[in-house]
């Protein structure tokens, strides 16, 4: 299905619907861009344990091309996993995130999938293979990843409000995932040998959860400072969190930046000509005015 956007002058911009998403019973769970023209979609139908890869060609009329499906159900289950055995139905993918890593002469895209039972799966995609259209890709999901040190509750049971975020610096890849609404686990991604992946939890941050069911709404990366990220909670608090343990053992530095009287819709980082980078927050007043504030 193609719609058009009318722009001043004779310009028209097509608005294209991704074909597999149009099933009546379907819900769209998550979408992530692997490259400027490759995206991954997770749908509830026919299986929320699968990801679908598409190639987008803006210059063509039917420019969204389905490429391949990847399933977490076919992942290589690690026999020595320390995670608890799950007896319930296959769990849904609820969140995707990725990070890129240089490896010899190529770049690997590490795609992480967080599932509703807390399991995290990983797929490695060779960026060269992706952009040179060498389909089907040879990649597949591995997991669930072992998470050390093991915990009695498998790092939580309530993942319905979970977030997943990948940070990177030149030395280490950091994976953040939330659980039980207000706890952030900071893990180092370790890959000591081929097909051997695990996460090591260095620090866990707990925010008080006794006031109005506070949940973490979003987490964003500071692209200029790879060990800093920002979180927004449902009570319109914004925190900056600096991971100090990457190079030396120091406690994570948490700074409460803002408590807004107005509901915060969204936060983001903006590159500016004058100040380099600003934290931007969007609030809405009672008379429907949008306010964008910069710090």
């Amino acid at each position: 299905m193609i719609y058009f956007i009318l722009i001043k002058g004779s310009h028209q911009c097509p608005l294209n619907e991704i074909p597999s998403c149009s099933s009546i019973n379907n819900s769209l769970i998550d979408l992530i861009w692997l490259s400027p023209i490759h995206l991954i979609v997770v749908n509830s139908h026919p299986s929320s344990s699968e990801c679908h890869l598409y190639l987008v060609r803006p210059s063509k009329s039917n420019g969204i091309e389905y490429i391949q499906t990847f399933s977490t159900l076919k992942g290589k289950t690690n026999e020595t996993s320390n995670k608890r055995i799950s007896l319930h139905q296959p769990s849904n993918i609820i969140k995707l995130d990725l990070i890129k890593r240089k490896e010899n002469d190529s770049i690997l895209i590490l795609l992480f999938a967080l599932k509703s039972d807390g399991d995290i799966f990983l797929m490695e995609i060779d960026e060269n293979q992706l952009i040179s259209n060498e389909y089907p890709l040879s990649s597949s999901f591995n997991g669930p990843l072992r998470i050390f040190p093991s915990t009695f509750d498998n790092y939580g049971s309530d993942y319905n409000h979970s977030r997943l975020l990948c940070l990177s610096n030149c030395e280490s890849i950091i994976i953040l995932f939330t659980r039980d609404k207000c706890e952030i686990n900071q893990c180092m991604y370790l890959n000591p040998s081929i097909s051997d992946y695990y996460l090591y939890t260095i620090d866990s941050i707990n925010f008080p959860n006794n006031e109005n069911n506070r949940i973490i709404k979003s987490m964003i990366i500071d692209k200029l400072n790879s060990n800093i990220y920002y979180i927004l909670d449902s009570l319109s608090n914004i925190y900056s969190i600096e991971i100090s343990w990457i190079k030396q053992i120091k406690k994570t530095n948490i700074q409460h930046l803002i408590k807004s009287d107005y509901f915060i819709y969204q936060i983001g980082l903006i590159q500016t000509n004058t100040k380099g980078q600003c934290l931007a927050i969007i609030t809405k007043t009672s008379n429907h005015q949008i306010k964008v504030s910069f710090f």
């Binding site: 149009s22 000509n273 949008i290």
Partner: protein, 104 residues
Amino acid sequence: MSLSNSKRIRLNLPNIDIFTFGESSLYGYDSLNHCLILISLNELNDINDQTINRLHFSLSPTNPIRQLILNQDETILALISDKTCFLVYLPQPLKGRNNFKSIE
């Protein structure tokens, strides 16, 4: 850092409550008029003079849009609803104001 010492801009955008940030731009979705807005934010000292650009749809998505996801080079915007996803191929150059209709 507090709200009192921040630099703020006020925008009258009554039907827009879905946003995403580009590298130096703010994108929003107008659910009533079924269009996108684009605000360039790279000149904070001149922020009050910013032009808000608008991209209209000829047809409206049948389900409410709940999220906007930009690709890495800000050439394609994904409009996410509960049921489906639409892709908008953004005109280039993205911030070329002559390509967009400005809000009066």
